[in-house]
Point group: C2
Chain length 343, copies 2
């Protein structure tokens, strides 16, 4: 592969001139510039980003460590992050932690070794040592969606409290009184917060959240299924299950279906995180929707601010409730014939 030396030789100038010509430096004569460009064209030269990074101590690359790529929420987040980063002239390297702290650590380490300019993290656990150290050492970093309390890093996330209150009001209005939740891992902020918000909202309606109605999940489908089966085995099963993420909701749907029961007649279902597929499930799932794309873009902007020496602000955006049929209410006016179960 042609290097800058080859271009310099072909153009009959020094490598310094080639570099200057290519980087838009003002003091290069038009003649020299033209010869350089011609040589570049002829040789199909492309600057070696590795060499440039070594010299400039800059990679124009952001690292993004997410908890689970297979989760549509994170997929969309990743997509919006890449989009905004590209608009700002950065590339993104994604690391998928698969909800495993060891994998998260692996990716943080590799990204740091590659000297990325900044790190976007949605931590799987309390934070790997490597990550905490990087934060302390001043590596530009921003938390997105999930964060780690006590670490001085800006956080870009959405606040689901109001939407969860709306959800509980909706459920209460439908006559449901026994509400259960499938929680996320206690090590994650989102795992805890959603339970807190739910309990708080229940309180406002004079309802309690008994321990038996709080199942421990891990943000994966299998755990949602397991927890839901537990709920159904209870002497007095809940009337509604609220899954703290979309994959666990999928698992819950599985569990209900495997028992030959139906949603919402036998058990109502709601989820945190809305995704396109929820429109097409049987029945369509009521969910708390985060402004995922905006979250990703805001996170990138914050991180780039930090990288380029400006100050980065934490951002909190509101989530909102999207009502569908999984909790019992018929869908808002639609051209489709009203659906009635035979029972």
């Amino acid at each position: 592969m042609a290097s800058i030396k080859d271009v310099a030789a072909a153009a009959g100038v020094s490598v310094a001139t080639v570099s200057r010509a290519l980087n838009g430096h003002p003091s290069v004569s038009a003649a020299a510039r033209a010869r350089v460009l011609a040589a570049v064209e002829e040789l199909g030269y492309r600057p070696n980003a590795v060499a440039r990074s070594l010299r400039t101590d800059t990679t124009r690359t952001l690292g993004l460590v997410i908890s689970d790529v297979m989760n549509p929420y994170f997929t969309e987040l990743a997509r919006s992050v890449e989009e905004e980063a590209r608009a700002l002239g950065y590339s993104v390297i994604i690391g998928n932690a698969d909800e495993r702290p060891d994998l998260q650590d692996h990716h943080v380490t590799t990204l740091l070794d590659r000297r990325i300019d900044g790190l976007l993290v949605s931590p799987t656990d309390g934070g790997s040592p490597r990550m905490l150290e990087a934060a302390r050492a001043g590596t530009p970093m921003v938390f997105v969606d999930r964060w780690i309390p006590g670490v001085d890093v800006p956080v870009v996330r959405s606040d689901g409290r109001a939407a969860v209150r709306d959800l509980v009001a909706h459920l209460h209005g439908l006559g449901h009184r026994r509400l259960a939740i499938i929680a996320g891992p206690a090590a994650t902020t989102t795992g805890r917060e959603r339970v807190d918000a739910f309990r708080e909202a229940l309180g406002a309606f004079g309802l309690e959240l008994p321990a038996a109605y709080t199942g421990q999940g891990d943000f994966r489908a299998a755990s949602g299924r397991r927890v839901t089966e537990g709920f159904l085995d209870l002497p007095e099963p809940p009337e509604v299950v609220f899954a703290a993420d979309n994959l666990m909701a999928l698992g819950a749907l599985d569990a209900v279906r495997a028992r030959g029961l139906r949603v919402p007649d036998d058990l109502a279902l709601a989820a945190f995180d809305d995704i396109p597929w929820f429109v097409h499930t049987d029945p369509p799932v009521t969910a708390v929707a985060q402004p995922t794309g905006e979250l990703g873009r805001a996170a990138v902007r914050a991180l780039v601010d930090r990288i380029e020496g400006r100050t980065a602000e934490s951002v909190t955006l509101p989530a909102r409730l999207v009502v569908r049929r999984s909790c019992g209410e018929p869908e808002p006016p639609s051209p489709s014939p009203v659906r009635r179960s035979t029972t």
Copy 2:
């Protein structure tokens, strides 16, 4: 951030010795090795991958350019690619082309600029000039899922012919005779092949595929919806629609639902590419399932073979039919009560 010089100084040895100690070179005394390791520990030193790459002309990184991250098929592919690559000691940088040739070209260019060791591509179109040139120039490269005819690069893909035949047999057995297809972009191999396989299978049953029953999609949901609406507007609409990928099937479902019709009673539906969500849609969708994970792993193995100087083989794995309810047949024996529509 500490460099190898700092470690050398702290350990009281030369940088050469540090490098040798860290790379397991045999001729380093136990004493020196211990001092180096202690210094590394103390300084929290991590080798600079950028510098190493410049010197060794190797990045231990694979580039993966896919057509659309939001498509669960590609998400799963990406995940399995990363997994296998990690097992072989490589990192992966993903580029999402979003079905846009210009974006594909952008990512190929950036990846090449970063001097990745090899490229895995699922081309969106006939192939960007940059990509074709890289292939010709000998950059290790493997096509996965889609490929470009006439380019001498190994291809890892699945063959859906048999499964599509099974699908048509299934549909024919259910009494369907007017079968339509939503094709993918003609610029992609998968876009063309699936139509060919479908037409061929129809032929075996003495059926034709009229032009009116061939809609042109682009592998995105919106196009599936548009094409399906066109089908429904026909004087004699088809009885079945076969979508050449899962997102277009989603769009088809949308179209049917928006008309107040139902699947499979008013229009049966089948899709190419099976995904977990198809189990939960209303109704569950019959699909041709590719061995996605195995495809990703095989592609990585082929690419790494090529990178490490062995010869890479093309691989073709069979797809298989997964029958669900969207074409009219009741699901195989299950504990759930038989579902009857009220009409």
